[in-house]
Symmetry: C2
Subunit: 182 residues, 2 copies
C-alpha cells in the first residue's frame, strides 16, 4: 500500500519525467497520473506510472513512465469474453527499456531481477528499446519490462484495456490501486 503523500510525490516525479521526455500533459492529467505499486510496497523497484489518454471498446492509448531501473512485473493479458486478449505496442519515447517476452532466453539479461522476487520472473527473451523503437506483444504472451538507468517513457498503443483481468506471475500482486489515508 502507498500513502497519499507517497502517491503525490510519485506523481510529481512522473510529471517531471514526462516533461523531460517532451511529453505535454494537461493540468487535469497531471493530477490523475496513476501510480501502480501492485501491492508490493516497493514502488521504486516494482511499479509503474501511467496516464490513460483514451480507452474505448475499440482501442486504448496510454503514456507509461518508469523510474530508473523500475520494473513492471511479469504478466499476461488473457482472453475476456469475445476478446482474444489485449494486444499492445510499446514505443519507447525516452530513455531505454529492457522488455522480456516468451521465447529464446537471453544468455545474460541486461535487466536486474527485483531481489526477493526472482521466482516470479520466468520469461527472458530480451528486446531492448531505444527512443523511436517499438515492439508489439501478442495477446496471451507473458511479458515484463524494466527501465534503464535514466528511467523511460513509453507510449502504449493497444486494443481495449481491461487491467483488472491481467494475470500476474507473482500471486502477491494486486493490480487495483490502493491508497491509504495519510
Amino acid at each position: 500500500m502507498i500513502t497519499k503523500h507517497e502517491a503525490k510525490q510519485a506523481q510529481e516525479r512522473t510529471a517531471a519525467l514526462f516533461r523531460q521526455a517532451g511529453i505535454v500533459l494537461s493540468e487535469a492529467e497531471k493530477l490523475c497520473i496513476e501510480i501502480a505499486e501492485f501491492g508490493l510496497n516497493e514502488l521504486n523497484v516494482q511499479g509503474l506510472e501511467l496516464v490513460t489518454y483514451v480507452n474505448t471498446d475499440r482501442y486504448c492509448a496510454k503514456e507509461l513512465a518508469l523510474f530508473p531501473r523500475q520494473t513492471c512485473p511479469e504478466h499476461l493479458h488473457p482472453p475476456v469474453g469475445g476478446d482474444p486478449g489485449k494486444m499492445e505496442t510499446f514505443r519507447c519515447r525516452y530513455g531505454q527499456v529492457f522488455l522480456y517476452v516468451e521465447g529464446e532466453p537471453a544468455a545474460k539479461p541486461q535487466a536486474v531481477i527485483p531481489p526477493g522476487s526472482e521466482q516470479y520472473y520466468t520469461v527472458f527473451h530480451e528486446i531492448v528499446l531505444q527512443p523511436g523503437e517499438q515492439y508489439t506483444i501478442a495477446p496471451g504472451t507473458k511479458h515484463w519490462f524494466q527501465a534503464g538507468d535514466t528511467g523511460a517513457v513509453v507510449s502504449e498503443f493497444s486494443s481495449t484495456s481491461r487491467d483488472e483481468f491481467d494475470i500476474f506471475t507473482d500471486p502477491r500482486i494486486v493490480r487495483i490501486p490502493v491508497i491509504t489515508e495519510e
Copy 2:
C-alpha cells in the same frame, strides 16, 4: 501529383517538425514518412504528413504533422464490412490545431478555408487543440483540421485504419499517394 524531389523535401521538412516537437523517429521511419497531397497539387495548403507506427486488425497509431496553416481536407470514415467505421482520437503534441466536426458551427472559425475549395468544407463545429489536449471523433462524422501558424504535430490513436475507404467531400481528391518520377 508530386515529384520525387518534392516528396523528399517534404519528408525532410516533416522530420524537422517532429524533431522540434520532441518526437523521435527511427532512421527507417524518416525514410518512410508519408506525404499525402490528395491529388490536389497544393501540398502546403491541403495536405498531411504522417508516420504509421502500427496498424493491426485491432488498433492503429500514427504521428501526424501539419505545416503552418496546412489543412487536412474534410472527410469521414464509413462502415466497412463488420467494422462500424474508424474511430479516432487526436492528441495535440506540438503547435495548435483547429479541428472541425459536425455540430453547431463556430460564428467565426479560426481556420482559413483553402481558397478555391470553399464548397468542399461543410462542417464548422470548432475544437481548438493545444499541446496536451485531445478530442475523439465518432465513426462516420465529417471532419477536417488545420494547423496554426507554427504547424502542428498530432498523435492519432484509432481503431484499424483503412484509408482507401475514406470519403472526402471534395470529389477531386485521390487518397492513394501518387509520386511521379523526377
